[in-house]
């Protein structure tokens, strides 16, 4: 038992070797991170957001560091669907880990077009719908803040995913995240991913201007962890548990204990983002740490999920 602890999980019907994912936009298309960590050891891999057409992204500065976190306003810079299929899919095809493609767009049709093109690709386990990017003028977060729109985009994309699973990624920058989560679930989401970054600003007091060219950016990193853990628990209690919908939880995870907090709060799997920049191999350590915890506590992932006491 000790050497080979089973920390596999069933995530909306996809069998994962362990509950640890790398988060979208923080691990590229896998080839970049592959020098540092064996991607196949991950429970799941999520690509950078893909849009129908390539996107240049925002002007620099695109990031700024804050205490225990960072703001980013990348603006969904990505290579676009065609190049993704030509250059990156062959790399992903060699992976044994569960691969999820994160999809973004400016219109519902764009989201649907991307998913339709990829829905039959064998290597793809599912899609993560990014309706929570705070850094683009059109689309992005605007789809994720109003329940009617969440419902509309989720059901349109659900029709296009075929056999694949559909994860809807939620923004925390809303009054009641459970309302949004519920809209996604009712419209057919197979899983929820939370949280994306929090809209935030850093001001340069010398120039009295925002540091980021985009003015605002999304806050990620350890600073958001306790808020994210709370929101995961709230959505677990109010939406996910009764609908038997798994949550991919995250926000500020750096260590195994951070990851375990999210699982106890109600996440079936966890996504590690910003921490990859500091320790590109941190996910390996997190996986090992979760195993050790399960041995020490004589427990397993299934029993841990949503086990938060009163």
């Amino acid at each position: 038992m000790k050497d080979n602890v089973d920390i596999s999980v069933d995530f909306a019907g996809v069998k994962l070797a362990n509950p640890v994912f790398t988060a979208s936009g923080t691990s590229g298309y896998a080839d970049e991170l592959a020098d540092f960590v064996d991607i196949n050891l991950l429970g799941g891999f999520i690509t950078k957001s893909i849009t129908l057409k390539p996107r240049k992204g925002n002007a620099p500065p695109r990031i700024v560091e804050t205490d225990a976190g960072m703001l980013n306003a990348i603006g969904l810079a990505n290579i676009g669907l065609d190049k993704f299929i030509k250059e990156k899919l062959p790399i992903l095809e060699r992976m044994t880990t569960a691969v999820f493609v994160n999809v973004a767009g400016e219109t519902i049709d764009e989201y649907v077009a991307v998913v339709e093109r990829l829905a039959t690709e064998r290597v793809i386990a599912g899609f993560e719908l990014n309706i929570s990017c705070p850094n683009v003028a059109k689309g992005g977060i605007s789809f994720g803040t109003e329940p009617g729109q969440v419902s509309e985009i989720t059901s349109a994309v659900k029709k296009a995913v075929g056999e694949k699973i559909l994860i809807v990624k939620l923004t925390p920058t809303v009054t009641d995240i459970s309302v949004i989560a519920n809209a996604a679930v009712e419209a057919g989401a197979d899983a929820l991913s939370m949280v994306n970054t929090f809209t935030a600003m850093v001001i340069d007091i010398e120039t009295r201007k925002p540091v980021l060219a985009n003015r605002t950016g999304g806050l990620s990193g350890p600073a958001i962890k306790p808020i994210a853990a709370y929101l995961v628990n709230k959505v677990y209690n109010e939406v996910a548990k009764k609908n038997r919908i798994p949550i991919l939880g995250g926000g500020g995870i750096r260590t195994a204990s951070d990851a375990i907090e999210f699982i106890i709060a109600g996440a079936s799997a966890v996504a590690v983002g910003t921490a990859n920049f500091i320790e590109p191999d941190c996910t390996t350590k997190i996986i090992e740490g979760i195993k050790k915890y399960c041995v020490r506590k004589e427990t397993n992932i299934k029993e841990l999920i949503g086990s938060l006491g009163k």
Binding site: F36, K56, P60, P61, A77, N276, F277
Partner: protein
């Protein structure tokens, strides 16, 4: 003794020295042994590495310059990029030197590193300077801390390209901010103030200070322009290499374009990952034969670019 990560490119280095060499300038010496020695031994001038300084302590209160006291309170999270001013292979060890300027919380922490400390480092990263094949003269134009990678380049050029004449131009606001170990007045005067380090490689160098406290009074780019005016060399036989503040690089690029001289510059951007993942380090570049521009990544496509590619912001 040396602990190397099993994964490629995250290395552990041991601090050998950390010397203060000017008001705010330090030279950090890092030693790599075992499996780490080889990749760093092959580091090219202009490449860089990402240092994790989160676990490094701040200096004592009184040792923090007053203008940085407020900033010092901030905690750091991300690694910081630094290029190399010298790389030396000694048997099975590699020593890498970094010239750095104390500007904020991470570089303040860096000053407390002392011999024997170990530090996590990712590198060598990015593309360095292209070598001057077919050229007769290489001009190195440094602004402030930009001297670092150009010193590394000077070493490689003088060793590997003995037939190429190298001339260095170093600029700073005032003489005290020049990041070199020897005081300027210790250096003999040939043409302007040759700098100790470049002189050590047998390189003629010219100094410019904004206030005229040493060498040419004015910007290093004016000094370069004046020199080009009287050098009598053909543009096609020269190449400019430059590193420093972006405003200076923009001016160097302009001069190179006007005079039709090949020019390579090392750019800086805020970097979250340094390894081509996060897309944070965008550099706006021209697309040949069109009015369009693209964003290239400073960490992966650079930090060295051909100067005629870059769209400078102002």
């Amino acid at each position: 003794m040396m602990v190397c990560s099993e994964n490629k490119d995250v290395f552990s280095a041991v601090v050998r020295s950390n010397k203060k060499i000017g008001q705010r300038f330090y030279r950090l010496g890092l030693e790599f042994s075992g499996d780490c020695a080889e990749p760093f031994g092959k580091a090219r001038p202009g490449q860089f590495a990402e240092l994790d300084l989160c676990g490094t302590a701040l200096p004592r209160g009184e040792a923090i310059p007053e203008d940085l006291c407020d900033m010092a309170e901030r905690n750091i999270l991300l690694r910081r990029p630094f290029s190399f001013c010298d790389v030396t292979v000694k048997g099975d060890k590699t020593v890498v030197d970094i010239l750095y300027d104390v500007v904020g919380p991470a570089t303040l922490r860096m000053t407390t590193l002392s011999a024997g400390d170990s530090i996590s480092i990712i590198g060598p990263l990015g593309n360095g300077f292209a070598m001057p094949s077919g050229k007769e003269t290489a001009l190195l134009v440094a602004g402030g801390m930009g001297a670092g990678p150009l010193l590394h380049l000077a070493k490689v050029l003088t060793a590997d390209y003995p037939n190429i004449k190298v001339v260095a131009f170093a600029g700073a606001k005032t003489a005290t901010t020049l990041p070199f170990e020897k005081r300027l007045d210790e250096v003999s005067e040939v043409l302007g103030f040759p700098l100790a380090e470049f002189a050590g490689y047998g390189i003629e160098s010219l100094v410019a200070t904004d206030d005229g406290s040493a060498g040419y009074k004015g910007f290093v780019t004016d000094c370069l322009l004046e020199w080009l005016g009287r050098c009598g060399l053909a543009a096609k036989d020269m190449i400019i290499y430059s590193c420093g503040p972006e405003k200076m690089l923009a001016k160097v690029a302009e001069i190179a374009q006007e005079k039709n001289i090949d020019c390579q510059i090392s750019m800086e951007r805020m970097m979250a990952c340094g390894i081509g993942i996060c897309q944070s380090c965008a550099v706006e570049c021209k697309v040949a034969g069109s009015n369009e521009t693209v964003y290239k990544l400073c960490c992966k496509d650079g930090p060295v670019f051909n100067s005629n590619e870059i769209v400078f912001s102002n």
